[in-house]
């Protein structure tokens, strides 16, 4: 009886896993195609940035802090060659570890787009908003405002 229960319920999981897997295959295929298109756009943008000559930010290390989920999050932005090179979290003592981990996902996006104008991580809205706003505050200093 217990074994039967186990087998019947295993079918549930296999079905769900199969559905997610099928979706994953479709999505990966689509992502490859999109990535190729995006790469072209990025190259163009980079060329434009070079051509305009004006570095967006002054080189150096800047810190900025903003309200996260459970207090202030302090961020450090390293600018070199006029571009955002590195972003570190200096302190985020009020954040839950798993949420902060999720929220960290915005950092590579900011570096990639060279702008803090990125979407928040859903499910970790407060923490990711704190990171984004902290970086924004730091970049304001880098821009000399």
């Amino acid at each position: 009886m217990r074994r039967r229960y186990f087998l019947v319920r295993s079918v549930n999981i296999l079905l769900i896993a199969a559905l997610v897997f099928a979706y994953q295959m479709i999505a990966l295929d689509r992502q490859d195609k999109e990535a190729a298109a995006l790469e072209k756009v990025k190259q163009q943008q980079a060329e434009q940035r070079k051509a305009s000559g004006a570095a967006a930010f002054r080189d150096g290390e800047y810190t900025g802090s903003a309200e996260g989920y459970g207090g202030a999050i302090e961020m450090k932005v390293t600018v070199s060659g006029g571009a955002i090179e590195k972003i570190d979290i200096v302190s985020a003592s009020g954040e839950d570890a798993q949420y902060l981990n999720m929220a960290k996902g915005v950092i590579p996006e900011i570096i990639e787009s060279q702008s803090p104008d990125v979407d928040t991580v859903s499910g970790a809205t407060y923490s990711s908003t704190g990171i984004i706003n902290g970086v924004t505050a730091a970049l304001r200093k880098a821009a000399g405002q």
């Binding site: 229960y5 994953q24 570890a97 798993q98 949420y99």
Partner: protein, 316 residues
């Protein structure tokens, strides 16, 4: 009978908690304070899958998904130990219920008070599957931020972290739902978990390895004894292994009935071990849910494994 009369005399109205109860309280307290967000983060994994399907992006390993997978894997091996011991919302409900039933409480007292009759409860428990489907559908359709903001769990986890934020209408909806859930939990054992919890619905459809599934033998049962059903927070009527099981069936009909009982009710088992502890003949239980010292040892083993899994998942 004599035990009941003894228990109702004033002096022994409340039995001092035994080692099993103390072990339960310690495990619950540790998980409540160490992993208050485990359940909202794990369920965020379910919502994450829905959001990905909405956006058309491939699924990537993330902390939320890791929490979901860790909890699902653990449940498939040990049953819903997470629900009975580690879930912060469940512990909150247990405390509420205990406070509101302080005077009337007593383990397995016959006719223990229940607001919702069993017949209605056996239908109400399907509501949680509806909520799970609804939440998934809303995430797939792109309303995940509204869902997240108005969920009572969000409000609860903020409360646990002592930082309630009442942002906009969604936050107020969350507060109202939280109050309703609290009233339910105070009135009826685990009302939220049994009838409304969508994460519980996820656990209910998972297979559980046979050695972690509770059952009993009919031939061992004392006639008319309903100790296990009365003490069960899910009000489950445990199936008989010796009727529907591998041993010679009494009749095909009863065997089929027992198997059906297993299929439709045992996903509701929280794995709290209370039936195994109360049974005067040590008839209810399974390999990982036992009475006395062995049961305590198993509980500690499960708690350590679960804590380890959650810690690893939180770092993904």
């Amino acid at each position: 009978m004599s035990e009941n009369t003894v228990r109702t005399t004033k002096k022994q109205k409340r039995k001092f908690p035994g080692a099993e109860q103390i072990c339960d309280i310690v495990i619950k307290a540790v998980f409540f304070f160490a992993f208050p967000a485990a359940w909202s983060a794990g369920f965020a994994g379910v919502k994450y899958l829905g959001e990905r399907i909405h956006s058309g992006e491939p699924v990537e390993m993330s902390t939320f998904l890791a929490m979901l997978l860790a909890l699902a894997a653990f449940t498939m091996v040990f049953g819903r130990f997470f629900c009975s011991r580690a879930c912060a919302f469940g512990t909150y409900g247990d405390v509420l219920y205990a406070v509101f039933h302080w005077k009337k409480r007593g383990p397995g007292r016959p006719g223990s008070k229940q607001m919702i009759p069993d017949a209605a409860a056996s239908k109400l428990r399907y509501v949680k599957y509806g909520i799970l489907v609804l939440v998934c559908a809303l995430c797939i359709l792109g309303f995940s931020s509204q869902v997240a903001g108005s969920s009572p769990w969000t409000f609860f986890s903020q409360l646990v972290a002592l930082k309630p934020k009442l942002g906009g209408t969604a936050g107020i909806v969350g507060l109202v739902l939280f109050v309703i859930c609290s009233i339910g939990m105070a009135a009826e054992k685990r009302a939220f978990c049994r009838f409304l919890c969508p994460f519980g619905a996820v656990f209910s459809i998972l297979p559980v390895l046979p050695f972690s599934m509770v059952q009993r033998k009919q031939k061992e049962c004392i006639k008319g004894c309903r100790a296990c059903a009365n003490v069960c927070p899910a009000r489950l009527d445990l199936p008989y292994s010796d009727i529907g099981g591998s041993t010679k069936a009494a009749s095909a009909d009863t065997a089929a009935a027992e198997t059906a009982k297993y299929q439709f009710s045992m996903g509701e088992c929280f794995g709290c071990s209370k039936c195994a502890r109360i049974c005067p003949k040590q008839n209810a239980g399974c390999a990982t849910m036992k009475k006395g010292g062995k049961g305590i040892a198993w509980d500690i083993v499960k708690a350590v494994i679960l804590a380890g899994l959650l810690t690893v998942a939180a770092g993904v």
